[in-house]
C-alpha cells in the first residue's frame, strides 16, 4: 500500500490566469513599472538608445540561432558601447529587479549589464553584472554617487550565455547567476533612480563584442 501512495500534490492542475497582469500579482495590487525585451527581429526596439561612450561602435540584431542583439566596438583601446533608456529612469534603486540573458563573445572584452542612473562614462549610481577578460571571475559592480567597487563571485568568467538576476534592495544589492545567489553587496550602492543598460568595453586595442537575448526589469 505504501508503495503506491501518491503525493497528493502530483496531479494538481496548472493555474491559468485571465491576464498577464494577474500572473504577476492580484488585481488588488497596483502593478509597478515593468518591461520585457526579447531582442529578436529586424531591428532594436525604439525604446532603446544606442550610445557611443567612446569609439564609433556597431549595434545590430545577430543573424544566428539564439544570438539576440550584438554590440561590437570599433576596435580601439577603451572603446565603450552601450544601449540604455536615454535617461528615462523608471526603476527604484532600493526596490527593483532585472533579469537578463547575455554573454561576452570573446577576449579583449568587458560585458557590463544591469541598471544605471548615469549614461555617461562615470556611471554614477549603478548596479551591474561584470564578465571581463581582465578579471578571473564574474562579478557584481556597484557605484554610488562617488565611488565604484566590485565583488567577485566564485564563477569563472566565460563566453557562455548566462542567466543573471540583479536585485536592488533597501539594504543590499544581490547578484544571482543561473538562479543561485552569489553575491550580497552592501557597499557603494546606487542612490538614484535607474534605467536598464547593456554595454561592451574594449579592454585593449581590439574589437570587443557582447550579445544579449533577453532583458526584463520591474519595481518591487
Amino acid at each position: 500500500m505504501w508503495g503506491t501512495l501518491l503525493n497528493p500534490y502530483r496531479f494538481a492542475a496548472a493555474v491559468e490566469f485571465d491576464s498577464l497582469y494577474q500572473s504577476k500579482q492580484a488585481l488588488t495590487t497596483v502593478q509597478k513599472q515593468r518591461f520585457v525585451e526579447w531582442f529578436s527581429g529586424t531591428a532594436l526596439e525604439a525604446i532603446w538608445t544606442t550610445r557611443n561612450l567612446a569609439g564609433v561602435n556597431t549595434y545590430s540584431m545577430a543573424d544566428a540561432v539564439d544570438e539576440g542583439f550584438d554590440i561590437t566596438t570599433a576596435g580601439g583601446n577603451a572603446d565603450y558601447a552601450e544601449i540604455d533608456f536615454n535617461d528615462f529612469r523608471h526603476y527604484v534603486e532600493t526596490a527593483c529587479i532585472c533579469i537578463f540573458v547575455g554573454r561576452r563573445v570573446g577576449d579583449n572584452t568587458g560585458y557590463f549589464t544591469g541598471l544605471t542612473n548615469d549614461t555617461s562614462n562615470n556611471k554614477f549610481h549603478t548596479a551591474r553584472y561584470e564578465d571581463s577578460s581582465l578579471t578571473t571571475n564574474k562579478s557584481l559592480g556597484t557605484v554610488d554617487g562617488t565611488a565604484y567597487s566590485s565583488t567577485g563571485s566564485d564563477v569563472a568568467r566565460d563566453t557562455a550565455w548566462t542567466g543573471v538576476k540583479i536585485e536592488c534592495g533597501s539594504a543590499n544589492i544581490k547578484l544571482y547567476l543561473a538562479g543561485v545567489l552569489k553575491i550580497t553587496k552592501t557597499t557603494n550602492r546606487p542612490a538614484a533612480k535607474l534605467q536598464p543598460f547593456v554595454s561592451v568595453f574594449g579592454n585593449n586595442a581590439s574589437v570587443a563584442q557582447g550579445r544579449t537575448r533577453y532583458f526584463e526589469a520591474y519595481n518591487t
Binding site: Y9, A12, A14, V15, F17, L20, Q22, S23, K24, Q25, A26, V36, W38, S40, G41, T42, A43, L44, E45, A46, M61, A62, D63, A64, V65, D66, E67, G68, I97, I99, V101, W161, T162, G163, K165, Y176, A178, G179, V180, R213, Y214, E216, Y218, T220
Partner: protein
C-alpha cells in the same frame, strides 16, 4: 500553492535555466513593431494595423495574379530549424484565389520556395495544410480541417525528426519529408493566386527555440 511569479521569466523557466531565443508579438497599437519588415515578394501589397476589435494587423496582397506580400525579420534568423516552435493566430478574410500562410522561413522568397515550415490556407485545396521545404524541395500535407475565415490558433513545431502542425491545440499533421535545414525567422503572408488582392489578419505571434 500559488503559481503567481513576479517575473515573466520565472513563468516560463526557473532561473536555473538559461532561456533561449524567444519573441512575443501582440500586433497592437498604431503601427507594426520595428522588429518586423514588410515585404512585397511580388507586386505591391498593403500593410496596416486593423481598426477593428480583435483584428490585429492586416496584410493584403497586390491586385495581380501571383502578387505576394509578407512580414518577416528581414533575414535575422535566430530560430533553430530542428528545435523551434511558432504560435500564431491567423485569419483569412477570403478563401478564394489566395494562399494565406504563417510559420517559419529561412529566407525572404515566396511561400512555396525552399527552407520553410508554414501553415497554409491555399484556396486550391479544400483543407488547410502544413507546407515544408528543405534546401531543394517543397511539399505539403493536408490538415484535414476545411478552409475557413475564422481566427485559427496555429502551432508549428520544428523538431529533429519531424515537423508538427497543431490547430486549436490538436495535433493534425506530423511530417517527416522535406524539412527545413537552415536557421529561420517568423514569417506571415498572403499570395494572390488569381485576380484581386487578398487579405490575412494576425493578432499574435510567438516564436521560441526549445
Amino acid at each position: 500553492m500559488t503559481d503567481v511569479q513576479t517575473s515573466l521569466y520565472e513563468h516560463l523557466f526557473a532561473l536555473t535555466t538559461v532561456m533561449k531565443q524567444r519573441v512575443v508579438e501582440n500586433f497592437d497599437g498604431d503601427a507594426l513593431d520595428e522588429r518586423w519588415t514588410t515585404r512585397n515578394v511580388a507586386g505591391a501589397g498593403t500593410f496596416a494595423m486593423s481598426d477593428n476589435a480583435d483584428e490585429g494587423f492586416s496584410i493584403t496582397s497586390g491586385e495581380t495574379t501571383n502578387n505576394e506580400s509578407r512580414i518577416d525579420f528581414n533575414n535575422i534568423r535566430q530560430y533553430d530549424p530542428v528545435s523551434s516552435i511558432a504560435l500564431l493566430i491567423l485569419e483569412a478574410l477570403s478563401n478564394t484565389s489566395a494562399v494565406q500562410y504563417g510559420g517559419f522561413a529561412g529566407n525572404t522568397t515566396t511561400f512555396d520556395g525552399v527552407e520553410k515550415a508554414l501553415f497554409c490556407m491555399d484556396s486550391a485545396n479544400a483543407n488547410s495544410s502544413l507546407r515544408t521545404a528543405d534546401a531543394s524541395t517543397s511539399s505539403e500535407t493536408s490538415s484535414g480541417v476545411a478552409l475557413n475565415t475564422n481566427h485559427n490558433a496555429v502551432k508549428v513545431e520544428c523538431g529533429s525528426s519531424n515537423i508538427k502542425l497543431y490547430l486549436a491545440g490538436s495535433l493534425l499533421v506530423t511530417k517527416t519529408t522535406n524539412r527545413p535545414t537552415a536557421k529561420h525567422q517568423p514569417c506571415i503572408g498572403v499570395k494572390t493566386t488569381t485576380g484581386s488582392g487578398k487579405a490575412l489578419r494576425t493578432r499574435y505571434c510567438e516564436a521560441y527555440n526549445v
